[in-house]
Amino acid sequence: MFKRKMAGAFAGVMLVGGLAACGGGDDDAGTDNGNAGDGDGEVSGEITVWGWNVAASSMELAIEGFNEEYPDVEVNVQDIGRLDLYDRLTVGLAAGGSGLPDVTLIETDRIDNYVAEFPEGFLNLSEYGYDEYASEFGDAKIQATQNDDGDFIAAPWDVGPAAVFYRVDIFEEAGVDADSIETWDDFVEAGTTIKDATGSYMVPIDISADDALFRMMLNQQGAYYFDDEGNIDLTSDEAVQAMEKIQELHENELVANVDGWDGTVTSTVNGNVATVPFGVWYAGTIMDQAPELEGDWDVFELPAFEDGGNSAANLGGSDLSIISGTDNPDAAYAFVEYFTTTVEPQMAALDEYGMFPSLLSTYEEDYFDEESAFFNNSPVFRTFADMVEDIPGANYTSDYARAFRYASDAQASSLLQGQSPSETLRQAAEQLENETGRTINE
């Protein structure tokens, strides 16, 4: 009898083995001890901010200036990997807001998705008066950070005006003048000349996994995956025209099919490609990974689809949101307001870490006109800054990630299997319709 009882207890205890006591670091779980309601209007307390990599470092730089205005607020910036941050944010919001910071960085194209998934998850910044800054940013940024009611859910921060980074030495070797490239047709022509003369491809594309070039082409034409009403817009003339152009690049053997981010960087560094059309943030990557190519790089504006057409487009960018469960909304708002609407921290972030501000008043700074030794002594930041106001808005919607996947699939079928873009995009639109219930624009 004893044997049985004993064993039952044994197995039972072991199954719920989690009850065994264990020592461990007893750090405080929540770092907030908000006391915003002091009554005297003074903002104080402690806030935690999540960000990744250079963006986190940029915010850390701003703490000193912030504390001059708000000496009683202690800001802790935590550097978390980008995708890791989303994992934690999703789990925390799904679990009802535990373990979350007060302020979080969020990529512009992900905001809609989080707002749709967790409508109560983020603080409405308009209620705290952020509307007064609405005229300080370009339209594209405003559209992306406001919800359907026109309230700010995120405060605009960095923006990714896109242009073509190119290798001056390779262009010279092939005798191609970068300034003469005005349209995508010119771009294809230049690419063919360069390929014949030097053997370098024109652009790197991760054909089956990333459609960055396609998105830039859509955006510059004022189109995107979805229209302003949220209908699927992948079958638009603009989309078909863009995909056909990419297909043409590929058929002329101007596309280096690279593997992911590392593949893109590899071909950038080793001269496999003559240009990389990307957002301004790629400047930092090139400087970090290819310091020996100083002076060999420069930038020209994205080609347009027709002469004199709009060329400005955006790729990437991020913003700051306040988690609605914060214990100290006043301090969190004070930090977000200071950081995103003051020239000083924005310029420091640009100068130190290449985070390109969307705050329009920063572009008056002389810094933008400085010639960059790395980029062939050109004032590249001015080139980018001049584009920001011309970037058309894009409606990312809560189904951005799905649309991205299907568009990349369409790109793969168009390029790798040679199917017609109007067909592959139609298929992508139909799959998207099935999955999301949105209607396709005819």
Partner: protein, 279 residues
């Protein structure tokens, strides 16, 4: 005649050894490549032709790495968590396995069956409820939040039970007749015969916890409580990545696994062989 046979043997050996040699190269090269990356500045690993000689940036990478993630502190966290976890979990799982294998109690098969079903629950399903539990207990950002939830590891219990089945009942009976208590039998008679299995389970659990990523990522809030995989992952940002640091961090993080494996290797191999022989 004799000579011919000898030559054939020799050829066979050459064939075998060159085959093994190629295998060694293939499996060692990634480690070597990692080491090269760890001693060179960031952009170097992208150069073509690839650079295969160690560089002189080891200490600079180490300094940068320590600045970005506090590598020693993070290493300490990982070691504490993994060692405590492995020790406690091996005990719990072998005890549970012993009970399932050698004791006949009511509902044994039902419980065991439930346990097998638990192996099939995907890790991610439990993530949010478990996280909420930890938040409610106010255990976020503590070692115990990482250590406790997976202590009773269904697969390890299953493995121990299968191994324990091989212990002759008569051995246990004899010990009982000699007057040994149940715990004494478990520790003095059962466990010593299980050393290969224990080593295998220990290596398995050690690797599980050492490489565990998603759970520590979610429950550890502050960077001084990160485990190694979480800290390394935080080095990967948007567009600017220092590959030298990452390679060095990865190199450092593989060392304990190698050491642990080498220490238990003998037991481990005899465990594999042990299974192939039936008395």
């Amino acid at each position: 005649m004799m000579k011919k046979k000898k030559t054939r043997e020799l050829l066979k050996k050459i064939g075998l050894y060159s085959f093994l040699f190629i295998g060694v190269i293939i499996s060692m090269f990634p480690f070597y490549w990692m080491f090269i990356g760890a001693t060179n500045p960031s952009g170097q690993i992208f150069s073509i032709p690839p650079n295969l000689t160690p560089g002189d940036h080891f200490f600079e990478n180490l300094r940068n790495l320590n600045e970005s993630v506090g590598i020693w502190r993070v290493m300490f966290n990982s070691l504490v968590i993994t060692l405590i976890f492995t020790a406690v979990s091996v005990f719990i799982c072998s005890a549970a396995g012993y009970a399932f294998a050698k004791f006949d109690f009511k509902g044994r098969n039902a419980i065991f069956f439930t346990l097998l079903l638990a192996i099939m629950i995907p890790y991610h399903v439990t993530l949010i409820p478990l996280f909420k539990l930890m938040a409610d207990l106010e255990w976020l950002n503590t070692y115990r939040a990482v250590i406790l939830p997976h202590l009773s590891y269904p697969f390890a219990i299953f493995l121990m039970r299968q191994n324990m089945k091989a212990i002759p009942d008569s051995l246990i009976e004899a010990s009982r007749v000699d007057g040994a208590g149940e715990f004494r039998i478990f520790f003095r008679v059962v466990l010593p015969t299980m050393r290969p299995a224990l080593a295998a389970v220990a290596i398995f659990l050690f690797m599980f916890q050492w490489n565990n990523f998603l759970w520590p990522l979610v429950v550890m809030n502050s960077s001084d409580m990160y485990t190694l995989p979480v800290a390394l992952s935080s080095l990967v940002g948007m567009s600017r990545i220092d590959y030298g640091q990452i390679m060095l961090g990865t190199t450092i993080s593989t060392l304990p696994i190698m050491i642990f494996f080498l220490l238990l290797q003998k037991q481990f191999i005899s465990g594999i062989l042990g299974g192939s022989v039936k008395e």
